[in-house]
């Protein structure tokens, strides 16, 4: 933790900020990218959101209170940027954000950066049919194998509520896959 405090100080210090930021980007770009990608699905959209996320981190590092781990804070920014991106995109198209992501999932088969098989495709479609919060919880818990306490810190939701949300998400996915008779 003291290493992290020293690193945060170097991010705030104008003399060392740029160098420290380079290190921050290098250490976290892939993990943040994949978290974003699982929310917005499309690579080019993820690239936009990742850039917005790092810009926001750079601009607001001075306002980071240190009441959570640095990565938790960055993850929270990435999550909110992803959700905001989806809302903005769907608003432009005149649809709801869950409708937008559902359509994206339906078109994954033709996405050149989707290498999954039929099972993976059906699973992504099932995940995309969940409400935003449930989808996030399922992704973070099941696909990213995060602990409930870390998810709680990122989403600002109690662990009990997360467990409930996850339980409902799994149930809905099972029902969806069974209804579609894929398996």
């Amino acid at each position: 933790m003291s290493d992290e405090l020293a690193f945060i100080e170097s991010l705030r210090n104008p003399k060392t900020q740029d160098q420290a930021f380079s290190v921050l980007v290098e250490q976290n770009k892939e993990r943040l990218y994949w978290h974003i990608r699982k929310i917005v699905l499309d690579h080019y959209d993820s690239d936009d959101v990742l850039q917005n996320t790092f810009l926001k981190i750079y601009k607001n590092i001075g306002k980071f209170k240190g009441d959570s781990r640095l990565f938790t804070w960055m993850y929270r920014i990435a999550t909110n940027e992803s959700l905001t991106f989806l809302k903005q995109k769907s608003r432009k198209l005149g649809v709801q954000s869950n409708e937008y992501i559902h359509d994206k999932a339906q078109n994954l088969r033709s996405d050149p950066y989707f290498d999954g098989d039929e099972i993976a495709l059906e699973l992504q479609k099932a995940i995309a049919s969940l409400p935003d919060k449930q989808r996030l919880v399922f992704q973070m818990k099941y696909q990213e194998s995060m602990k409930y306490k870390d998810i709680s810190a990122i989403l600002g939701t109690s662990i009990g509520a997360l467990k409930t949300s996850y339980h409902h998400a799994v149930k809905k996915i099972k029902e969806k896959l069974t209804t579609d008779q894929t398996f």
Partner: protein, 155 residues
């Protein structure tokens, strides 16, 4: 239940041919599908992500001017002026001042007023007032990337 008793009860039931042989494959297939990442990126994508280009872009942006406080203060002063003028005999025309006209004066930075003047003169009857925690404000700002409010509200 003993092994003997267990075996006896299972004799009453049948399963499809080859069922147990397929369980591993199906279950593992599902778990592998869930955990295996089906998404890919263009070749060399992560190598292209460098902090340098973004920091240059941020530093090129003009410094933020805290217009919002000035804007609200100006609105307050305009209201003050309206209140004073409505007490005069020739004030009936001022009753029809549109919000857009007030904002135009604000945008032109004609008025300089203190925040207490703003607080006294803004009509809050249409506002849905509720206690907002600092965390809620913080989350709101994080979720609204285009707002300029973050530059002063988090001080």
């Amino acid at each position: 239940m003993s092994t003997t008793q267990n075996n006896r009860s299972s004799e009453a039931f049948r399963v499809p041919d080859g069922y147990f042989e397929t369980i591993n494959t199906r279950v593992l297939g599902m778990t592998t599908a869930a955990h295996k990442n089906p998404f890919s990126t263009p070749k060399g994508y992560f190598a292209t992500i460098e902090a340098g280009n973004w920091t240059k872009k941020i530093k090129k942006q003009p410094s933020v001017v805290r217009l919002n406080i000035l804007r609200y203060s100006a609105v307050a002063a305009v209201f003050f002026a309206v209140i004073l003028l409505t007490n005069s005999p020739a004030s009936s025309q001022l009753d029809t001042i549109e919000d857009s006209e007030i904002l135009a004066l604000v945008e032109a930075n004609w008025i300089n007023a203190y925040e207490f003047e703003l607080a006294e003169n803004i009509n809050t009857s249409d506002w849905s007032l509720e206690v907002v925690s600092e965390n809620t404000i913080y989350e709101h700002l994080l979720s609204n990337p285009n707002t300029m409010d973050e530059y002063y509200l988090l001080d």
